[in-house]
């Protein structure tokens, strides 16, 4: 969301349910929306992003505007009917859409092996006559290459791509979730390979940035975050009249 351009202050205000949030505090973390930067829908229902992404992509196909829609979801979402309906339609209609599965190996509290019949998510692309790419989702460069290939295909009228980005979840599914269902050794290993520290090392090793450059960037991020949190805390909650607004175009009585 932040990479797409959602302003940090608006994000934090929305997380805090404040009227200055992107959705006036009426959506919250599960419904972040920021159309001016292409963040069209965030859904709290597992698997529901995909059918809607098709519609956004259909608009791009009609307009021939070169825009590509990305539906982001997890490995668990590939077991819900909407995934299959959406991939089939996207393939039949050759829509400019990318189905981006972040396979973090846990569907809520349940392991991949226990809940998913496919050996790998990307195999499901075959059933929908769609190219599939499996990639190390924790490798920035590999992700960029995979996305570039899928975006180019979509723009050229070649239709959808399913990307399976392998990753791991460092936090629980819900707040206060102690990860009791996770294999401790597996989690420790994944955390040792944290993609952020990995990328940081890569930047220094390849001479793109110095330790001092990165420290400065990190300090700026810290201060921006402090500012955004403070902005959110200082902002007002929405007026109760907001319950009558945005239900329909016209305010309800």
């Amino acid at each position: 969301m932040l990479a797409k351009g959602l302003p940090l202050r608006d994000l934090w205000a929305e997380l805090g349910g404040r009227v200055t949030g992107t959705c006036k505090g009426k959506g919250g973390p599960m419904h972040l929306t920021y159309p001016s930067k292409g963040i069209m829908v965030t859904t709290g229902v597992v698997g529901s992003s995909m059918p809607i992404a098709n519609g956004l992509a259909w608009a791009s196909a009609l307009e021939k505007d070169g825009l590509v829609t990305v539906a982001s979801f997890g490995d668990g979402a590939s077991n819900i009917g909407a995934f299959h309906e959406a991939l089939n339609l996207a393939s039949v209609w050759k829509l400019p859409v990318i189905f981006l599965c972040q396979n973090n190996q846990y569907a809520e509290h349940t392991t991949y092996e226990k809940a998913t019949s496919a050996k790998q998510i990307v195999d499901r692309a075959i059933g929908y006559s769609m190219p599939g790419i499996r990639v190390d989702g924790n490798d920035v460069f590999a992700m960029y290459a995979a996305a570039q290939e899928a975006v180019a295909r979509a723009r050229a009228g070649g239709g959808p791509t399913l990307i399976e980005a392998m990753t791991f979840r460092f936090n629980g599914h819900i707040l206060g979730d102690m990860d009791g269902y996770m294999d401790k050794a597996r989690k420790a290993e994944a955390m040792a390979n944290d993609p952020v520290s990995r990328f940081r090392r890569q930047l220094i090793d390849s001479g793109v940035a110095t330790e001092a450059d990165l420290a400065a960037i990190e300090a700026k991020i810290e201060s921006d975050l402090d500012d955004a949190v403070e902005f959110a805390i200082d902002s007002s909650f929405p007026d109760l009249a907001e319950m009558k607004r945005d239900v329909y175009a016209e305010e309800i009585a």
Partner: protein
């Protein structure tokens, strides 16, 4: 006899409800390049819908704008929502109202709520066309009236046209509307004839119509029950009971003003619908009448709906399942009307 004016001639042109829906879609597609029509079998190679409601549209407007889909109700509704977020005006068909159950997440969690949850940044100007109704022995999964579910969902609008002109005018309003509208078609009355629409004329959503003026009792109804209630009103007039008949046309929002003004005059009301009675729209409507007019009523508001079972296949059971004119008239005769 004097000359019949052109206006009178136009008003007496007769057409069917099915033609009214088709003409509204055609006129909307012609008027606005952002209108799209899609759903299972809707294009002409697939015969323009299983009952031909969309016949001719894909040939005239092209298969990019009038498009048949896979049998995938979630994908259909999702595509409608998504494309509408880019300012298109899709009319998506869910062939039968029972099949909305397959797409409830898209309709209830997304179409109805995105405007609110986005703080008004996005809206979902879609029309969901769907048909239903008992009478053709289509059994328990092809005939239900489920409008109460959608009327109960904040963000949704629901209309149930019962005449060719209303079918046309409500479709045009539904397509114009900036919010999601469930447009419920009654299968057994597709071929019902009536005065034709005036091209371009909208029927406002939320406005009912008095079809017959009366003084003793108000019957509030919609969809196919308009026909049954009209027959009942005619039978009752022979008994000296004067019925005022209201076709609600819209269920969400419904025309409280019209209903309350009528019942304030007649001081008696009966609400009739084909939806099952328990927790049906009649419960809401009768409650509002009681809340607003309790002291002036001659007796309690009565309700008639279908039996509380799946729509039966067997003909005698199916016939007895939905309200009929005789039962409606009989109920009115038991009401205190003096």
């Amino acid at each position: 006899m004097g000359n019949i004016g052109l206006e009178t001639l136009a008003a007496t042109r007769v057409a069917t409800i099915r033609e009214g829906i088709n003409a509204a879609l055609a006129d909307a597609l012609a008027d606005d390049a952002r209108v799209l029509v899609f759903g299972e079998d809707v294009a002409d190679p697939e015969e323009g819908g299983v009952l031909g409601v969309t016949a001719g549209l894909s040939s005239r407007f092209g298969d990019e704008r009038v498009r048949s889909t896979p049998i995938s109700e979630q994908a259909i509704m999702g595509a409608a929502i998504g494309v509408s977020l880019r300012a298109y005006k899709p009319v998506a068909e869910i062939m039968l109202m029972n099949f909305t159950t397959v797409a409830m997440d898209m309709i209830v969690n997304h179409a109805a709520k995105l405007r609110f949850m986005s703080g008004g940044q996005t809206n979902v100007p879609i029309v969901i066309r769907t048909m239903t109704g008992s009478g053709y022995s289509n059994g328990g999964q092809h005939s239900d009236y489920l409008e109460a579910w959608f009327a109960h969902t904040a963000g949704m609008k629901v209309v149930c046209p019962a005449s060719p002109a209303d079918a046309y005018g409500l479709m045009r309003s539904a397509i114009d509307d900036p919010d999601p509208v469930m447009y419920v078609e009654n299968l057994p009355t597709y071929m019902l004839k009536g005065a034709a629409w005036e091209p371009g004329k909208r029927i406002p959503i939320g406005k009912g119509q008095i079809l017959r003026e009366g003084t003793d009792v108000t019957i509030v109804t919609y969809a196919r029950m308009v026909q049954e209630s009209m027959k009942a009103a005619e039978a009752l007039s022979k008994d000296g009971i004067s019925v005022e008949l209201i076709d609600l046309r819209s269920i969400q929002p419904w025309d409280r003003e019209l209903v309350l003004a009528s019942v304030a005059r007649t001081r008696a009301a009966l609400v009739v619908h084909e939806a099952a009675l328990p927790f049906g729209p009649a419960g809401e409507i009768s409650s509002v009448i009681h809340e607003e007019l309790f002291n002036s009523l001659k007796g309690p508001v009565r309700r008639i709906g279908s039996a509380f079972c799946a729509v039966p296949f067997s003909k005698p059971l199916e016939t007895a399942f939905a309200p009929q004119a005789a039962g409606i008239a009989q109920t009115v005769r038991t009401m205190p009307l003096r």
